[in-house]
């Protein structure tokens, strides 16, 4: 479990240096422009901004799903822009968990099997341990009774929590969430937000979440506001504001 790891607050877990992403074409489109920041362990960061401000594009760059046109992403101080795709996949598998706006579960696999998929690929645990861990994760998120259900048999909020459990499967240090509550009603939003919050406080895993929900963003520890692909404000929110 991630909680077992020695945790030093403020260690630069992730560092973005002058990140720029330009979509090539007849008229090149600048998605992200010269973005730099660092994220330490145990941070809960919101990336906000109007639509089209490059929030999601930035998240894909941070998650090594996309390569920047310029600049670089460092994970634990290690440069990643020169690594081959195979190594990037390995870093995603071991250290980064993704949660998307839509649940993105494999439809033919049960909730527990979906959570087990990253563990099976990594192969660090025995099949029995994998099953136990998947069940435990789902239990933590209040899904103890739904482990054997297929995604289609779950509600939107439940699916999204399964997706969060899957993101946590290999105990990553960083979870990247792209509008994790974007398709949920207010009650389900609340449940998922609480789940994410508990992960940060209990395991020290950092979460970077893209959201356009300013109310939700204001409850996180830190807010990075993007306008036209560049950082407009990057502020740490004092606890008083959050509550």
């Amino acid at each position: 479990m991630a909680g077992d790891r020695p945790l030093v607050q403020g260690t630069p877990l992730l560092e973005a240096r002058g990140l720029t992403r330009i979509l090539p074409g007849v008229v090149p489109v600048t998605l992200v422009q010269n973005v730099s920041f660092t994220i330490g362990c145990g941070e809960f960061v919101a990336i906000t901004g109007p639509s089209g401000s490059g929030k999601s594009s930035l998240l894909y760059l941070l998650g090594l799903l996309d390569r920047p046109t310029a600049g670089e992403v460092l994970i634990h101080g290690k440069a990643t822009h020169t690594l081959p795709k195979k190594d990037l996949a390995r870093i995603r598998l071991e250290q980064i968990g993704f949660v998307f706006q839509f649940h993105f579960l494999l439809p033919e696999f049960s909730a527990r099997d979906n959570v087990m998929i990253p563990m099976q690929r990594l192969g660090a645990l025995t099949p029995k341990q994998q099953k136990t861990r998947a069940t435990d994760l789902l239990k933590n998120f209040g899904l103890a009774d739904y482990v054997d259900r297929l995604p289609a048999e779950l509600s939107g909020g439940q699916r999204q929590r399964v997706a969060v459990a899957r993101a946590l499967a290999n105990a990553p240090r960083l979870i990247l969430a792209d509008e994790p509550t974007g398709s949920l009603d207010s009650r389900a939003t609340e449940q998922v937000f609480d789940t994410l919050q508990s992960i940060v406080t209990e395991t020290g895993t950092s979460i970077v979440a893209v959201t356009h929900d300013m109310d939700l963003a204001s409850r996180m520890q830190r807010r990075i506001h993007l306008v036209d692909g560049a950082i407009d404000t990057d502020q740490i929110l004092p606890p008083s504001v959050r509550d």
């Binding site: 894909y60 598998l93 839509f102 494999l106 792209d178």
Partner: protein, 412 residues
């Protein structure tokens, strides 16, 4: 790997109907290929069998592999000679008794000696040029199927009746001669002798039926003025496969040209080889078509499962894994198809072998000749698997190269 199998399995099951259709495509391809191969090779073996029954397995002739040198060229190193009178060679295998005895020592099978030459048969004012073959009747019967070809009279009577003749039915018809008639036979050098017809054969080969006549060896040696000479030894072996080896050894031993049935029918063997190439090309084409079916379904799955591919990639599955999933799907269809195809092929060839035919003319073929071989199954299945793998490979590569960001963006 287990996980990849599981994912591949769910994809294939999800598109069950299409999977079954493409599996059937492969199965039909493999099944028909196997049945066709069994039929082709069966008919080839059937044909070769009847061929080697009708001709000698090894034939030794009074020829040399290399032309005989004239005495002058043996003594002088010259480019050409003019005005030389060539040495007359009486030809034939001399001292046949000794040659036959030395062969009998080691050859497993039967031998027969012949002396053949050209002669003209005359009867009731009709002349007919023929090849006259002098035989020892009992020996000849042991190496050929002439007994089965006899229409009237008995071949054995050549041994008991002096100056007797067995001729083809066409020749008899053209001469207007019948069993028991006496014809005049004139050799190239002008010698004449009277022979009595004691048998008429029909081989179904017009060259033989029109222009071949058998007579006792001694009588022919006298007529052709070649006493104690033969020019052909025919062998019928117990083991046909030994023919080339026996031919080689006999040639080394006697110094005369010995030809095995395979060498004599080289053109035919080549034709069979070409036929096999054509067959496997057709088989390959059938399976390539089946491969397109596989390509089609896997392309569809890749298209449908683009989102799953993006998920797996974002979870940290390398491209190699994604590609493997879809290649596996192709192979699963290929393997299932090949197995079903082997069963179908076996059923088809078993059924074909029970079909009966009746031919009014010529040699009767009672049923389709079917030859089953493990190789047919192995080759057809192998080609099916290769084409399934290739058919899976291209969509799989496309899947592996899909950019997850494009898909996630498209979905949100």
């Amino acid at each position: 790997m287990n996980l990849l199998f599981k994912i591949a399995g769910t994809h294939v099951r999800n598109r069950l109907r299409q999977t079954i259709v493409s599996t059937l495509g492969v199965a039909l391809g493999v099944g028909f290929s196997i049945a066709m191969a069994a039929l082709m090779q069966g008919s080839q073996r059937d044909f070769v069998e009847s061929l080697i029954n009708a001709i000698p397995h090894v034939e030794i002739r009074d020829e040399k592999r290399d032309p005989t040198l004239q005495p002058a060229s043996r003594f002088y190193q010259a480019v050409a000679f003019h005005g030389l009178r060539p040495l007359d060679d009486i030809g034939g295998i001399r001292n046949p008794t000794e040659a036959m005895a030395s062969l009998r020592d080691w050859v497993d099978g039967n031998l027969a000696q012949q002396l053949s030459g050209q002669a003209v048969l005359r009867y009731s004012g009709q002349d007919l040029g023929m090849t006259l073959v002098g035989v020892v009747p009992t020996d000849e019967l042991s190496v050929s199927t002439i007994k089965d070809d006899m229409r009237r009279g008995r071949f054995e009577d050549l041994a008991t009746t002096p100056d007797s003749l067995v001729i083809g039915d066409s020749a008899a018809g053209r001469l207007g001669a019948d069993l028991g008639d006496t014809v005049t036979v004139t050799s190239a050098s002008g010698l004449s002798k009277r022979f009595k017809i004691v048998g008429i054969f029909h081989k179904g080969v017009s060259a033989s039926d029109e222009a071949l006549a058998y007579a006792p060896l001694k009588a022919v040696q006298i007529l052709l003025e070649k006493p104690n000479v033969i020019n052909r030894i025919t062998l019928r072996l117990d083991t046909i496969a030994e023919a080339p080896a026996v031919a080689e050894r006999a040639e080394r031993q006697l110094g005369y040209k010995a030809v095995s049935w395979e060498e004599a029918n080289e053109g035919l063997m080549e034709a069979f080889a070409v036929r096999n190439v054509i067959m496997y090309t057709v088989v390959g084409a059938i399976l390539v078509v089946a491969g397109f079916g596989i390509f089609n379904i896997i392309s569809t799955i890749v298209h449908e499962k683009a989102r799953d591919i993006a998920i797996l990639k974002s979870l940290g599955f390398p491209e190699h894994d994604i590609q493997l999933i879809f290649v596996l799907e192709g192979l699963v269809i290929g393997i299932l198809g090949a197995l079903a195809g082997c069963l179908l092929g076996y059923g088809l060839s078993s059924y074909l072998s029970t079909i009966r035919f009746e031919f009014s003319v010529g040699r009767e073929m009672t049923h389709l000749p079917i030859y089953m071989s493990v190789w047919h199954y192995a080759i057809a299945s192998g080609i099916a698997l290769i084409s399934a793998g290739v058919a899976g490979f291209f969509p799989a590569r496309r899947a592996a190269r899909l950019n997850p960001v494009d898909i996630i963006r498209g979905a949100t």
